[in-house]
């Protein structure tokens, strides 16, 4: 503008033109009257209005879905920023503390709550995948009443959706009627770990005196508890402490995967396998039948039929007490173990004697610093013997100072039998299935289903349909974990709080609130906060007074709610002394024919989580099988039976026959079949129904040890079945493919002693010096991302894989697609066997996009859809991808995943494409369409978050504070991620470690995933 002015001033001749800018005479004969009646303004108004009317009339005005714009922003919600709420996971009785990430009010991710004293910021696969159950399309939307109309004439049941208040009225009437008729009100529940729910149950019993509770738990610890009481007297059990243990001996106990609090155990055990502190490095002996996570990670694995476990312990006692004189034995024990010896045991069970001698040597040497742990499936006498050996070895620090808290004992076989007989004799007025599934979990010997026909009023409280709810007359939908209030205490020392993070999505109520409401005078006037108030009232009265903090109750309550945990005073260490009279050298198990070991599945719990597609598709940590259970057996057993992988066998035990596909699994004892529970659901959702075989019937009513059957028969039957494995199964006898992972330097490992002697030895595969290059290397001046995975710490638990699925909106593809090799998970756990079929050595390796500096995928993409970022990420531009799959072909690690279908649409007829799942997706991660390649992004959304945060604060981004989803979930902290240009970052330190290596160095793709070699703590040759 200034320039113009100057111009005008300079050029005088322009001046006269300026007044003529507007043509003269325009306003001369201007008259308002002559103007068109429709002014421009009015015209615009009419056009606007008619467009609006047209738009409105075409839209469905009846669609009155609630749309709440954030024009008045809730105080705690910032659009685009996540909120985290501390809560408690109720997926199993461990009740880990969790942090739920919500975006604009929708829960999208679950991580561990770092403030929780037991779970310490970690949560298991089920806990993480549980978010899918919240949005599961099969959740029941509102209460259902089923009129069992005269079944003689009408075989159809009337299913009516009914209002809660009507149902409340009807049910309270039924309850009152049962009470007045003095008929039993039976409530079947899963074991409770909530003190407030316990109080509620007690109150409910006061209101309705004929109430009787039954607690059903497939994986009870009765054997362990009975042994504890016999060993140490009637005191509460204490959890195990692995922190000080140098020698860990697990007997049929998968302490890293399924047994006790495996998350806590993993952290403690693995933290003492630190190459840099080798004097603390523990040694794990796993004595087990089926191959478990613990067996895979052990330094020595002894394969043993569980019927021989007692003989094993007694032989050890004999060796240590009588041969080595490591301790003195009381007379009855000496007599009991006289007939056993390690030599005889080794010969009888085809076990390497040297390993057994090593074990005895180690136990004698590390007196007071070892720990023996027996699995809960083993019979009582083994537990007693193990308790005895632990106390003989003076292992005092193996118990934690806190003790387990038990509210109700689990119901025994006889209690269930009497329930069934009462049901049959019509003595049960009302049967309430309180979020439990007895029809599936009780073996058919009980005859629960038949008995249920004799009960007129069965009420099911459940999230979605199951085998039990189908027997009911009322099906009441209950809140999910994330919609409910609660408190949980599994041990002395702390109480964990649960709070809802989303309003109930459907017309559901919290299960405790339902019971509480039925105790009210007017149950039809339900208030949403009824249980919340009840919980607070109990806390004010009981917890607040015990803790007695220096604040008022409100501050205490909100503080605890914020932390998700309230710490209580702990009682002192129990003084345990073993009662030698409890020692019993007679085994109740005798191998007779085939032994069937019935194991817990890693991810489906007792089958409740079989409804979760992510968990079904998460490969089994050992066998890599998805979507099925099978009969795992050794190669020699399969040869004896004349079957191969994927053939069929008929296994009969406990008078029941089932047909199972064969899986040849290294490391299993002869004449033993390892099977898993949790499959064969029949009345759940589309995901779970008819997946695998239900083996509950193998668990009989009368058992010494319900998970071990020693009287089974196995016969091959004609036919073939296709198991869906994510990794090819090669026999260890196939010379051609054997040990390729070692030959190719994919897995590098050595023993601890060799490493201490010569740390450089691991480097012999590849050189440290950079490969020759004819071009200038790309420089990464700022941040450069890299990851280091310590294979010494990785147990192969697969929690990283599920965390990645949730974080990155990874679809479920289904069994057929897994068989074809099209699973989508960005993170996979590779498992390799070496050694012999009898005693395999297992190596594991998490495999994900390596973000190579010389990424071979990038130069072959014809449309530049995959590129390199200036901070070293290998990126995918989904919009640009046409899907030639060339990048995947050229990826040496085969970590790229291709959307062969729109898998959400394709899986189970679009089951996971339904509307209810839309809020599940992480809004920061694109949902990929069909025909697009995808892969690990290093959680670029978290990187961008941290970067924008730094920019906002006016700081240079130095790459600190970024964590990937897999890293957060890793229970052993094996994964480290960060800026490798920063010499102080954790990842740089790991890269500088002598154990560090990258795979396939010879092809010079320069991966940015660094692996730290695994060390095995085997015995030095000269030591024994």
């Amino acid at each position: 503008m200034n320039n113009n002015k100057d111009l005008i001033n300079l050029n005088d001749d322009l001046e006269p033109k300026i007044p003529m800018e507007f043509k003269e005479g325009v306003t001369d004969d201007f008259s308002v009257e002559e103007l068109s009646p429709v002014s421009r303004r009015k015209f615009m108004a009419l056009v606007g209005a008619s467009t609006a009317f047209a738009a409105v009339s075409c839209s469905d005005y009846r669609d009155k879905k609630e749309v709440v714009p954030y024009n008045k922003k809730p105080e705690e919600v910032t659009l685009g920023r996540p909120n985290f709420y501390a809560s408690t996971c109720t997926a199993c009785a461990l009740n880990c503390g969790i942090l739920i990430k919500t975006r604009e009010g929708r829960p999208i991710k679950v991580d561990g709550n770092p403030d929780h004293p037991i779970s310490l910021g970690k949560t298991c696969s089920i806990g993480q995948a549980n978010i899918l159950n919240l949005y599961d399309p099969s959740r029941i939307k509102s209460p259902i009443k089923i009129n069992k109309s005269d079944e003689f004439f009408l075989f159809k049941k009337d299913v009516i959706e009914e209002k809660w208040n009507v149902i409340d009225k009807e049910i309270t009437d039924l309850l009152k009627k049962a009470t007045s008729e003095n008929k039993e009100i039976a409530i079947i529940s899963e074991p409770i770990t909530s003190p407030t729910a316990f109080r509620l149950f007690e109150d409910f019993k006061v209101k309705y005196p004929t109430v009787k509770f039954y607690f059903i738990d497939l994986f009870d610890e009765n054997n362990k508890k009975n042994a504890w009481v016999k060993s140490f007297g009637d005191i509460p059990m204490s959890p195990l402490n692995y922190k000080d243990a140098k020698i860990i001996v697990t007997l049929e106990a998968d302490v890293l995967g399924r047994e006790c609090n495996f998350l806590e155990n993993s952290g403690e055990i693995i933290s003492n396998r630190n190459a840099e502190k080798h004097e603390e490095f523990n040694r794990i002996y796993a004595v087990e039948a089926g191959m478990s996570l613990t067996g895979m990670n052990s330094d020595y694995r002894i394969r043993l039929n569980p019927a021989q476990q007692l003989a094993f312990v007694l032989s050890l006692v004999n060796e240590l007490g009588l041969q080595k004189k490591a301790f003195n034995l009381p007379g009855n024990v000496e007599n009991g173990v006289k007939g056993y010896s390690l030599d005889k045991f080794a010969a009888d069970n085809k076990v390497d004697l040297k390993t057994l001698k090593n074990l005895a040597f180690d136990l004698a040497k590390n007196k007071g610093k070892s720990i023996l742990v027996a699995g809960k499936s083993l019979p009582e006498e083994v537990h007693i013997a193990v308790n005895m050996l632990n106390s003989l070895l003076d292992n005092k620090s193996i118990y934690k100072s806190s003790t387990f808290v038990n509210y109700y004992p689990k119901s025994s076989k006889s209690e269930f039998e009497s329930l069934i007989s009462k049901m049959n004799s019509k003595q049960i007025g009302v049967l309430i299935q309180f979020d439990a599934n007895p029809a599936y979990l009780l073996s058919s010997e009980y005859g629960y289903e038949a008995a249920s026909k004799n009960v007129d009023n069965i009420i099911s409280l459940t999230e979605s349909q199951n085998e039990s709810s189908r027997l009911s007359s009322y099906v009441l939908p209950i809140n999910h974990n994330f919609e409910a209030w609660g408190d949980y205490q599994t041990r002395t020392g702390s109480i964990s709080l649960q709070q809802p993070v989303i309003a109930p999505i459907n017309n559901t109520r919290q299960k405790e609130a339902v019971l509480l409401n039925w105790m009210q005078e007017k149950p039809e006037e339900y208030k949403e906060d009824i249980y919340h108030k009840y919980l607070m009232a109990r806390w004010e009265k009981e917890v607040f007074t015990t803790v007695s903090p220096a604040t008022d109750f409100n501050s205490f309550w909100y503080g605890s709610l914020h932390d998700g945990i309230a710490l209580l005073k702990d009682n002192s260490t129990p003084n345990l002394s073993f009662n030698f009279n409890a020692f019993n050298p007679t085994s109740t198990l005798a191998a007779n024919g085939y032994t069937v070991v019935i194991s817990k599945n890693y991810f489906l719990r007792d089958g409740k989580y079989a409804t979760n597609g992510w968990l079904q598709e998460l490969p089994h940590p050992v066998t890599k099988i998805t979507w099925d259970n099978y009969a795992a057996m050794s190669l020699s057993t399969s040869n004896e039976l004349g079957v191969k992988m994927n053939d069929l066998v008929e296994v009969s035990a406990n008078g029941k026959k089932v047909t199972l596909p064969v899986l040849v699994q290294p490391g299993i004892p002869e004449k033993l079949i390892d099977v898993e529970l949790g499959y064969g659901r029949t009345h759940a959702n589309e995901v779970a129904n008819n997946v695998g075989v239900n083996l509950i019937d193998f668990i009989g009513k009368d058992y010494k040890s319900k998970f071990i059957r020693t009287d089974a028969t196995v016969t091959p039957i004609p036919g073939h079945y296709q198991l869906a494995s994510t990794q090819e199964h090669h026999m260890l006898t196939e010379k051609f493919v054997k040990d390729l992972h070692l030959e190719r330097g994919i897995i590098r490992e050595t023993t601890l002693d060799e490493y201490i002697e010569d740390p450089k030895k691991l480097k012999e595969h590849g050189e440290d010096k950079p490969h020759f290059s004819i071009i200038d290397r790309v420089k990464y001046p700022g941040v450069k991302w890299a990851m280091a995975i310590d294979l010494n710490k990785c147990t192969g638990c697969s929690m990283c894989a599920i965390a990645c699925n949730v974080e990155n909106n990874i679809p479920v593809v289904g069994k057929e697609q897994v068989i074809k090799g099209r699973e989508m998970s960005w993170m996979r756990l590779d498992r390799y066997y070496s050694g012999t079929d009898e005693d395999p050595i297992v190596s594991q390796q998490p495999q994900l996009c390596q973000h190579c500096d010389n990424a071979p995928c990038e130069n072959v993409c014809p449309v530049v859809a995959t590129t390199h970022s200036p901070d070293g990420l290998n990126q995918m531009t989904y919009n640009r991808c046409v899907g030639t799959r060339y990048c995947a072909n050229n990826c040496p690690f085969k970590v790229r995943r291709y959307n062969f279908f729109d898998f959400r649409e394709q899986f189970a007829k679009g089951y996971y494409e339904k509307d209810s799942l839309k809020p599940l997706y992480n809004p920061e991660v694109t949902v990929r369409s069909r025909g697009v390649m995808e892969k690990c992004t290093f959680c670029v959304q978290n990187i961008m978050d941290a970067r924008s945060e730094a920019t906002k604060n006016g700081k240079d981004f130095d790459g600190t504070g970024v964590k990937t989803a897999c890293q957060i979930s890793c229970p052993t902290e094996a994964i480290v991620f960060g800026n490798m240009n920063d010499p102080n970052s954790a990842v740089s330190k790991q890269i500088g470690n002598t154990r560090n290596y990258t795979i396939l160095e010879e092809i010079n793709v320069k991966p940015n995933i660094n692996y730290l070699a695994k060390l095995r703590n085997t015995v030095k040759k000269e030591e024994v």
Binding site: R744, K820, P862, V882, T884, A888, F900
Partner: protein, 456 residues
């Protein structure tokens, strides 16, 4: 054996009059198709229909209907592509390279071989377009200015393919068309049907058989032959780069360009030979497409088949000699792994069967050579299968290995590609002269200018 070797032997049997030649070649275009033609056409159209149906299903549901998986990202799709590109090699080789080498026997077969080239390249060209996950975005593969500022990746061999194949298709088409112009003029002059006349008039560009026209024509044809010659070699070289430029053991091999070209010529000749055996019989053109010509083709198959066999052996040798365990594993795996059946089909068909052509009797036996040529095509299809699928199914990390199994849809699309190709071939035989009338006339005994006026 009473041939006079003191002068060049005629490539045409007997001494047919020029009018006979014109007549015999033009007959199919001047008569209505017979029953056999309709039966053949209905078969090929059925195949084409099956292929189209499978393709529509693929467009609706996705590539998942095929057997491809992770790690085998490419399978039938790219196998078919390379196979058809290979088939498309004989035509230009015969018409351009043999033309430059003054091989007169080529005149009888050049036109038909060129037509097959065009159709094979058309068929092959489909596969890169349909093998992508989102075929509606195929345009992204072409460098075109756009407001997003997006450009293609010139380092990707797939993009080189786009250019190599489209250039080859364009040049082959022009070459073929230029050769057709004098024949179109002949047909124009012969026909009595006005519509045909109009069409042939337009197609013949006003050709008047004038001396001047011939002079220009000869020059253009020579230049185009010179232009097409390097393309014959470059197309399959570049197709082989799809594999050779990658880092996969079994793909990353420097021998691929010559080996692929030899293989392509091998399979191309086999396909041309197969088709010509029918053509010469059905159209009674045995005196133009003589047994001698077929024998010469068989000799080329013997040569290229031996080169291919050498390449197989050399690959194995280098896999061992290089000392690269990954490479050695891949090759041992090919011969003895899960896909050994495919490998031995390939070896039998490609290496052993053409060796029988050393025997003159077998080389000149029409039923025998027909069977061998079929074998060669089967073998060459399996060669691509072996290279692509076995290398992908077992690569670097044993954890990612997986077995590939084709689906019915895969088979349907393969069938459809044959349907498309042979439908086009059939239509061609009734629409255009299958032999170059003008060129054949030039090689008939006595048609060359001589000092003695054609008399001894």
């Amino acid at each position: 054996m009473d041939k006079d070797y003191s002068k060049e032997l005629s490539v045409i049997e007997g001494k047919p009059s020029l009018a006979t030649i014109t007549h015999d070649i033009s007959v199919p275009m001047e008569t209505m198709p017979n029953k056999a033609f309709y039966i053949a056409l209905s078969v090929t159209l059925t195949f084409l229909g099956i292929g189209a149906f499978c393709l529509i299903l693929t467009f609706i549901y996705g590539i998942g209907l095929w057997g491809n998986n992770n790690p085998v990202g490419w399978a039938f799709d790219i196998v078919n592509f390379v196979f058809w590109i290979g088939i498309g090699h004989a035509g230009t080789l015969i018409s351009a390279i043999l033309f430059l080498f003054r091989q007169k026997w080529r005149t009888g077969i050049a036109r038909f071989a060129e037509a097959m080239t065009i159709f094979a390249v058309m068929t092959a060209g489909l596969f890169p377009l349909i093998h992508v996950g989102r075929p509606w975005l195929d345009g992204y593969l072409l460098p075109h200015p756009n407001q997003h500022g997006l450009w293609v990746n010139f380092t990707s061999p797939l993009l080189w393919d786009v250019f190599a194949v489209s250039t080859y298709a364009t040049v082959s088409l022009i070459f073929w068309y230029v050769g057709l112009i004098p024949d179109f003029a002949t047909l124009r002059d012969r026909t009595t049907n006005n519509i045909k006349k109009l069409i042939y008039s337009v197609l013949s560009f006003g050709w008047r058989h004038s001396n001047r026209h011939w002079q220009h024509y000869e020059m253009v044809y020579l230049i185009l032959a010179g232009f097409a010659t390097p393309l014959v070699l470059s197309v399959h070289t570049i197709v082989s780069f799809d594999f050779a430029v990658s880092i996969l053991p079994g793909w990353h091999t420097t021998i691929f360009p010559p080996y692929f070209v030899a293989g392509a010529v091998f399979s191309g000749f086999a396909m041309v030979q197969n088709a010509l055996i029918f053509i010469r019989k059905v159209f009674k053109l045995e005196y133009i497409i003589t047994l001698d010509t077929l024998e010469k083709m068989n000799k080329i198959m013997l040569l290229t088949g031996t080169i291919v066999g050498y390449a197989y052996g050399m690959e194995f040798f280098i896999a061992w000699y290089s000392g690269n365990p990954l490479e050695l594993f891949t090759f041992v795996n090919r011969a003895f792994g899960d896909y050994a059946w495919a490998y031995w089909i390939m070896m039998t068909c490609n290496v052993f069967s053409p060796q029988l052509f050393w025997f003159k009797k077998l080389r000149r036996s029409i039923p025998f050579m027909f069977v061998v040529a079929i074998f060669v095509n089967v073998g060459m299809w399996f060669e691509r299968f072996v290279i692509i699928v076995t290398s992908l199914s077992r690569d670097f990390l044993p954890s990612s290995w997986a077995y590939y199994k084709p689906t019915l849809i895969d088979g349907g699309i393969l069938l459809g590609s044959f349907g498309l190709f042979f439908t086009l071939v059939l239509l061609f035989t009734k629409a255009m002269p299958v032999i170059s009338i003008a060129e054949v006339k030039a090689v008939v005994d006595g048609s060359q200018p001589t000092h003695h006026g054609g008399h001894e």
